[in-house]
């Protein structure tokens, strides 16, 4: 399988006031052409930062090391027109469409903008394609919607506009950054289904960022679990749930209540999620992990191949199969 996107040892520090704060540490990630990769983790674990680094949208003053390769091109070395061309190939669907669509421009203008400016498509042709794209995402009366302004559309409809727009420019990779979080549950399911279908039709690769482990499992081929700025496990989505390799992944799976059974108490992970810059040396999850040993806190954990996946836990092979069921607490 040739990979479209390869992220190797990506470390990112952001400038906060006078000091640099690490937000990502040696992140490894690989997405094949046509593959959907889920990226899950708690808030602040570095999911969005990873996506921003891939699209080269990190804030000014960020220092980046490691490598990002997209279709054989070194993304971190790009600038000027090449960088814009890269961004055009990587479409981002953001979490909050209302903030991410210019409020003073019509939907027509927003949707057709990159076609008109980057692909030299005529205004009429751009509008026609936009109308078709709106129909594809299940929006009725596209001609009317195109004439409207963002504030005249509902959140769910705007997110569909966002998705339709992202697909219009025929990207090769879709970065979906919690694109359904701001929507109500029913709309969420609809939008998700539409996006999944359109992506499969086009054979588009996707990095799907979410808090929802099960949603990632349902939509993605593989799932990547992040904790405190590191990827701790990458696994085929179908097996992550039943056979997690990292104690943190297992704890996340356990924390989610099962719809088929009643639980007296939900299983929570003790402690609070850490950011990369405040994480201890050694295994970053060790302070909250039921299986940690002295070795875990004294040694940096390596990125190991195991059972068709990768995991950042020295005890993974030994613990495999015993992690589920709240044994970590």
């Amino acid at each position: 399988m040739t990979s479209l996107l390869q992220v190797r040892d990506l470390t990112v520090q952001l400038k906060i006031g006078a000091d640099l704060r690490e937000v990502l540490t040696t992140v490894n990630l690989e997405i094949a052409a046509g593959e959907a990769m889920g990226l899950v983790g708690e808030s602040g674990s570095g999911k969005s930062m990873t996506a921003k680094a891939i699209a080269r949208l990190l804030p000014d003053g960020a220092t980046v090391s490691g490598s990002i390769t997209f279709d054989g091109v070194d993304v971190l070395a790009l600038s000027g027109a090449d960088l814009r061309a890269h961004r055009a190939q990587v479409a981002v669907v953001f979490q909050d469409p209302r903030a991410h669509i210019n409020p003073v421009r019509r939907i027509d203008d927003f949707m057709g903008e990159s076609l008109r400016i980057l692909s030299d498509v005529s205004k009429e042709e751009a509008s026609r394609r936009a109308a078709d794209a709106l129909e594809e995402v299940g929006i009725d009366n596209p001609a009317k919607r195109l004439r409207q302004y963002p504030h005249e559309l509902s959140g769910g409809m705007l997110q569909r506009v966002m998705i339709a727009t992202a697909l219009l420019s025929e990207p090769r990779l879709l970065l979906a950054d919690e694109c359904t979080t701001a929507l109500d549950v029913t709309t969420q399911a609809e939008v998700m289904a539409i996006m999944d279908e359109l992506r499969r039709d086009r054979g588009l690769s996707m990095l799907f960022i979410t808090h929802d482990l099960e949603l990632a499992g349902a939509v993605c081929d593989r799932t990547c679990v992040m904790y405190a700025g590191q990827v701790v496990e990458t696994r085929a989505a179908s097996v992550l749930h039943g056979d997690p390799l990292h104690p943190y992944s297992a704890a996340l799976v356990d924390a989610r209540p099962d719809i088929n059974s009643t639980a007296d108490r939900l299983l929570a992970i003790p402690g609070r999620p850490l950011s990369a810059f405040e994480a201890p040396s050694g295994c970053r999850f060790a302070p909250r992990c039921g299986y940690s040993t002295d070795d875990c806190t004294s040694h940096e954990q390596e990125w190991l191949e195991l059972a068709g996946g990768q995991v950042r836990c020295g005890r993974a092979a030994e613990l495999r199969g015993t992690l589920r069921g709240g044994a970590h607490v």
Binding site: A55, L57, L83, R84, A85, H86, R87, A88, Q89, V90, A91, V92, F94, D96, A99, H100, I101, N102, P103, V104, R105, E113, S114, I117, L118, Y149, H151, S169
Partner: protein
């Protein structure tokens, strides 16, 4: 849109009526009498006094006088200057051109320099931005009468580049005479517009929708124009509009300093001469200009921001 404009025009008329009442009332309450000015402080014989009072309706009750004045004003007759025996409308007509040109030229300076510097400061970090901030701080701290004196001394007297006094004759000479007054008048206001533009541009730059545009690989200049400047135009219009509207009143100081025969300078002079009809007339014109400017801003605002509902009632 039409309905919106009509409603704003109705508000304009209401504002003018209210303002005219306040203006008329304020002068009625003001100490001193036009007769005293007219007679040079001497007490005239009773029959002369009576004749004068009848002529200028000075012996009528306040509301009757106000009504007579308002009725005439609506038909374009703003009364007659007591000391000059000339129609106020003529006196205003002779001077309104100077003030209008001054305000226009000042507005152009404010718009070009203020918005230009603000955009540069907002888009660039570091040295350029600091220079913009520093220059706008200095210019904000400089009141226009002080700027007038400095400009007259340095540019007019020392360098001899531009005339410092009078209105001038012919188009190019008139414009030359207006340059220094316009710069003096613009000095304080331009800083405000610069600051607001700078922060509006900076704020828009940080907006998520700009990041979306960036993520789509759009070329930078177009992105700035279509997303940053277009959106920043909304707060900039508000401030620039209010600033320009206020120039109409502030022009008096600069006109006096540069010996320009404009409405503002004449208003000050008329007030000192107790020339009530002139003061009322000019005040009414100034209020009308101010309110009309605001109506224009309101309409522009609605054009710039589709979220402003034209159909809804003005609050």
């Amino acid at each position: 849109m039409l309905q919106f404009v009509l409603r704003r025009l109705a508000m304009l008329v209401a504002t003018l009526v209210a303002a005219s009442f306040v203006i008329y009332g304020a002068l009625y309450l003001a100490p001193g009498s036009p007769i005293a000015t007219l007679t040079g402080g001497r007490t005239p014989p009773p029959e002369v006094l009576l004749a004068l009072e009848t002529r200028y309706h000075l012996n009528e009750p306040f509301l009757v006088r106000y009504w007579l004045w308002l009725k005439a004003a609506v038909s374009g007759d703003l009364g007659e200057s007591i000391p000059l025996h000339e129609p106020v409308a003529t006196l205003i007509g002779e001077r309104v051109g100077v003030t209008a040109s001054l305000v226009l030229l000042t507005s152009l300076i404010i718009l070009f320099v203020g918005i230009g510097l603000g955009i540069i400061g907002g888009l660039r970090r570091g040295g350029v931005d600091n220079a913009v901030l520093l220059s706008s701080t200095i210019s904000a701290a400089l009141p226009s009468f002080a700027a007038a004196v400095v400009l007259q001394f340095v540019v007019g007297v020392k360098l001899g580049w531009l005339p410092v006094l009078g209105t001038g004759t012919g188009f190019s000479d008139s414009v030359k005479h207006l340059i220094l007054p316009a710069i003096a008048l613009a000095s304080t206001s331009v800083a405000l517009v610069t600051r607001v533009t700078r922060s509006a541009v900076m704020e828009e730059m940080g907006k998520e929708h700009v990041q979306t545009a960036l993520s789509r690989g759009l070329p930078y200049p177009g992105l700035i124009r279509r997303h940053v400047l277009r959106n920043a135009a909304i707060p900039i219009t508000t401030v620039a509009g209010l600033t320009i509207a206020s120039l109409i009143a502030l022009a008096a100081i600069v006109e006096t300093a540069f010996g320009l025969n404009g409405l503002g300078a004449y208003l000050v002079q008329a007030a000192m001469n107790k020339d009530f009809a002139v003061v009322q007339g000019i005040s009414l014109v100034l209020v009308a200009a101010f309110v009309i400017t605001n109506v224009v801003i309101d309409i522009l605002y609605a054009v710039l921001d589709p979220r402003v509902q034209l159909g809804s009632r003005a609050q």
